[in-house]
């Protein structure tokens, strides 16, 4: 059995995630998208606060 490795995938990425190949790229892109979404939400909520 191959040992399972755990990676913390951040939007910043890492050499380790690139070395994982296709799987790593997908996870990294996903993390970036999620960060973008979070950013958007924060901005929206910040905008909301300003409006309010």
């Amino acid at each position: 059995m191959k040992e399972k490795k755990e990676f913390k995938v951040t939007a910043e990425g890492s050499l380790g995630i690139l070395a994982l190949g296709a799987v790593g790229i997908r996870l990294w892109r996903q993390a970036k998208e999620e960060k973008e979404k979070t950013k958007g939400k924060t901005k929206r909520s910040e905008n909301g606060k300003t409006k309010n």
Binding site: E12, G13, L15, L18, A19, L20, G21, A22, G24, R26
Partner: protein, 873 residues
């Protein structure tokens, strides 16, 4: 079908990977995946081809052919209509690649980023071309894939999003490479760090595509090529530790870790790749050439096309693991990049093409059953998945890749004058192909090309190769006059370059040369290669005493060419000066410690000085580096005899005989050892019988035109201890009578068997009669050459005295014709070796000439006695 050893093969290409960098990293635990990989299989050095240019080499790897046959002649090629240039394409490949052959036997292949692989070939499987990873738009803009990048096109959607754009490379990704800049957040500040990010992105894209295909697609064969190590090295090897004085502290601090980080990144990618294969897969990891990482790093990159290739070293890496391959980290040797395709075919149990230039690497196999062969895979009909000859790709799609080659310094920026640029590129490509042909022994054809392009352009690089080719062909006069022409051209070129540089400096333009560059010297010394060439020429014409001082001069100025020290060492060996020979070979090995020839020659010097233990070590190392040289085993045998290890000696001599059947001296030793030491009369008799039946006698023949001095050489041989044959009543000291040849030569016209009388003896024969010698014997011919005027004058003197029996003058003037006939006869008879001796050298350098003659005869002749014979006169 031959024996099938595996079901699947994965080839991983790491351009420019070199053990010299890898070994310390593995020792420090920094490349664990590769370390484990080689411990489970075999590994060794792989020899590159000349020129070490990657598109040519990777095509040789994938086909088993050199460039003149496979058709890829460098980095670029003209567009079919001649209107410009483009990176080399698969449409130019003239022979089947391994995946085309596998296509014909129904196997599925995935090929990723092979160089060249654009436009992707319509194979059974997936091909992702070498343009896949190249970003042609800034991040955020639609990054279209050029047409022909992926086959089948249905795969485009799932592969295009796996590409990493260089601008996506983050500080944390770049930090292992350039920690200082990453810390200072200056990743995108300067050209070099932008280049590094680009290379990381390319490697990540290629790796993502290959891992995706490995996971999602069925395959029997998979090949993935990474150019990143080569690119990291070209960008920053000059900053790799140890720091050299001309590298600034700041640059060193910033970039000294890039190469190491690059290799470690590849190790991480390898680990992932190996996780994705099953136990039925045999893996071959290799590079196409190495990369100088130590004191052999060049100080300057020549300002010429493919100039950066000067950083490449001649040995790359090979490692193999999996079904069919030996286990346990066995070292293999003597492999070439041409061997990969034949080896893959043998792994699958498929026949190897007899026309392929490489060999099966049996030493890597657990089962060495021989492969099957067919005449040629090119003649095999069936769907192979190659492009039709007519197919062309969109040249503009390739422009970004072309630009990258310009940035890396591999090619010049395009001129406005496109036609001239295309013509130049064509000549350059012809030059590479000619070098490749020389490398493959097709020297005559290469000379035709080199003569043409040198005549057209007067580019000295072309002339340089041509001169070496002339030397190889023994066209010494042509070589000599070309050296003279090159000396003039080099001076003229230097003058022009200096003028241009001065003008640019005066105009405040950016200069290619720093202040220390030799270009600024008004009186530049001639390039060293000219002296080196001249020394090699002198060695070739048996004037080592003239070659030696030139070689020493070259050695002083060029500390990185081991061949210079090797040649000096060989001169000392020939002169039986074993202590200085030893020093030279040690010096050569300090530059290239894996040179089999270097270890062998050092071993020979030790052996001749009775340093048997160190000799043993050197011969064993030489054999480890290259098993297939019979003389290595022969001298190992001789050493073991001196150490009284007769059983091992017998084994060594037996191997020498297996490698060169009929090696008389090894049979002699075996006869002696079996009869005198090992008490095995049956085997002793076997070798005795073999010697009696198969080994021809050897005769020394001294020849030349009458009165050229052949008699003098015969006398010298006699003085040195060689038994000679002279006619009864002939007085060799009487110079007043016409010179005679030994009468046996006339008898031989009718009775060929009479030659046995001359076995192991020396005799004199006139040039015009030399063809009477029966061909079933072995001859060492010493040809004494003398100035024609001197011969004529000597002949006249004799004629005046004797009035008769002297050679008619017509015969003297027919000298050249006779000489040509003799040379033709010698070149048609492989059992004849010839040594030219200049009569004037004999008089001016009697000691040195005696040493050359003694070395040629191969016996322990008394050279002092030979020399004194001339000195007395």
């Amino acid at each position: 079908m031959g024996k099938q050893r595996t079901k699947k093969v994965l080839v991983v290409g790491w351009d420019a990977a070199d053990w010299k960098v890898i070994e310390p990293l593995m020792q420090q635990g920094k490349m664990p995946a590769l370390k484990k990989f080689i411990e489970e299989g075999v590994y060794g050095r792989i020899q590159t081809l000349d020129p070490p240019l990657s598109p040519m080499l990777w095509t040789s790897i994938a086909t088993g052919f050199r460039a003149d046959r496979h058709g890829i002649g460098g980095f670029i090629e003209p567009l079919p209509d001649g209107s410009g240039l483009r990176p080399v394409t698969t449409t130019s490949r003239k022979v089947k690649a391994i995946w085309n052959i596998l296509n014909q036997v129904g196997k599925r292949s995935n090929v990723v980023a092979w160089w060249p692989s654009n436009p992707a070939e319509p194979i059974n499987g997936v091909m992702v071309s070498n343009l896949y990873q190249v970003a042609n738009k800034p991040l955020g803009k639609e990054w279209e894939m050029p047409k022909g990048t992926i086959h089948p096109e249905s795969m485009i959607d799932e592969l295009k999003d796996l590409r990493v754009h260089p601008q996506e490379i983050s500080l944390s990704m770049a930090a292992p490479f350039i920690p200082k800049l990453a810390k200072e957040k200056e990743l995108k500040k300067e050209k070099r760090s932008i280049g590094i990010a680009k290379v990381i992105a390319h490697a990540a894209s290629v790796h993502a595509a290959s891992t995706h295909l490995m996971e999602k697609k069925d395959w029997d064969f998979m090949a993935v090529y990474h150019d990143a190590i080569d690119h990291f090295c070209h960008l920053t090897m000059r900053f790799h530790p140890p720091r050299r004085p001309q590298i600034s502290e700041e640059d060193f601090t910033t970039y000294s870790g890039v190469v190491e980080a690059g290799y470690r990144f590849h190790d991480m990618m390898l680990e992932r790749t190996l996780e994705l294969i099953d136990e039925d897969t045999t893996v071959i990891l290799l590079s196409d050439h190495g990369f100088h990482s130590d004191h052999q790093r060049p100080l300057y990159i020549p300002n010429e096309p493919s100039g950066p290739a000067v950083e490449h070293s001649p040995y790359g890496i090979i490692a193999m693991r999996g079904p069919g391959i030996k286990k346990g980290g066995v070292e293999i040797s003597g492999t070439s990049v041409l061997d990969i395709t034949p080896t893959i075919l043998a792994l699958y149990g498929l026949p190897v093409g007899k026309d392929m230039e490489g060999k099966v690497i049996y030493q890597a196999f657990e089962d060495v059953s021989p492969a099957e062969y067919i005449e040629s895979w090119e003649k095999v009909e069936g769907e192979h998945g190659m492009h039709s000859q007519e197919q062309q790709e969109d040249p503009w799609a390739a422009q970004e890749a072309l630009q990258q080659l310009v940035e890396l310094g591999y090619i010049d920026p395009l001129d406005e004058n496109v036609a001239e640029q295309v013509a130049k590129a064509k000549r350059e490509s012809d030059y590479y192909v000619a070098r490749n042909m020389i490398n493959g022994g097709r020297i005559h054809q290469a000379v035709e090309i080199l003569e043409r392009i040198f005549e057209e352009s007067k580019i000295t690089r072309y002339g340089q190769r041509l001169a070496f080719a002339f030397l190889e062909l023994k066209w010494y006069l042509k070589c000599q006059s070309l050296i003279a022409e090159l000396r003039i051209l080099e001076k003229e070129n230097h003058r022009k370059t200096l003028e241009r540089a001065k003008k640019q400096k005066a105009e405040g333009k950016k200069l290619l040369y720093d202040d220390e560059h030799p270009i600024w010297r008004e009186e530049v010394e001639e390039p060293l290669y000219l002296d080196y060439l001249e020394a090699l020429l002198l060695l070739a014409i048996n004037q080592p005493w003239k070659a030696e001082p030139i070689l020493k001069r070259v050695q002083k100025k060029n500390l990185t060419n081991p061949d210079v020290s090797m040649n000096i060492g060989k001169i000392f060996l020939m002169r039986k000066k074993y202590a200085p020979a030893e020093k030279e070979f040690i010096r050569a090995l300090a530059i290239d410690d894996r040179s089999a020839q270097g270890h062998y020659c050092l071993g020979l010097s030790y052996l001749r000085r009775n340093k048997t233990e160190p000799a043993l070590d050197e011969f064993l190392t030489a054999i480890q580096q290259n098993f297939y040289v019979p003389t290595f085993h022969y001298h190992l045998g001789e050493t073991l005899v001196r150490l009284n290890d007769f059983e091992s000696a017998v084994q060594a001599f037996e191997v020498a005989i297996r490698l060169t059947p009929g090696m008389a001296k090894a049979h002699k030793w075996l006869h002696k050892l079996y009869s005198e030491e090992l008490n095995d009369p049956k085997k002793a008799e076997h070798h005795q019988r073999f010697l009696e039946k198969n080994i021809r006698g050897e005769v020394v023949v001294v020849t030349g035109l009458p009165n050229s001095g052949a008699t003098k050489v015969l006398q010298m041989l006699q003085a040195g201890g060689q038994e000679i044959l002279v006619n009864s009543g002939e007085d060799l000291n009487d110079t007043t009578k016409p010179e005679q040849e030994y009468s046996l030569i006339v008898k031989l016209r009718k009775d060929k068997a009479a030659i046995s009388q001359a076995r192991d003896k020396a005799m004199k024969v006139f040039v015009q009669n030399i063809m009477n010698l029966p061909e079933h014997y072995t001859y060492k011919v010493i040809f004494v050459n003398r100035n024609l005027d001197e011969i004529v004058s000597q002949q006249k003197k004799i004629m005046a005295k004797v009035k008769k029996n002297a050679l008619p003058m017509d015969a003297v003037y027919n000298f050249q014709e006779q000489l040509n006939k003799m040379d033709n006869w010698i070149s048609a008879n492989p059992n004849v070796r010839k040594l030219n001796v200049e009569f004037n050298d004999l008089l001016d350098f009697p000691k040195e000439t005696s040493e050359v003659i003694a070395d040629f005869i191969g016996k322990d002749l008394n050279t002092k006695a030979m020399t004194s014979l001339i000195d007395e006169k």
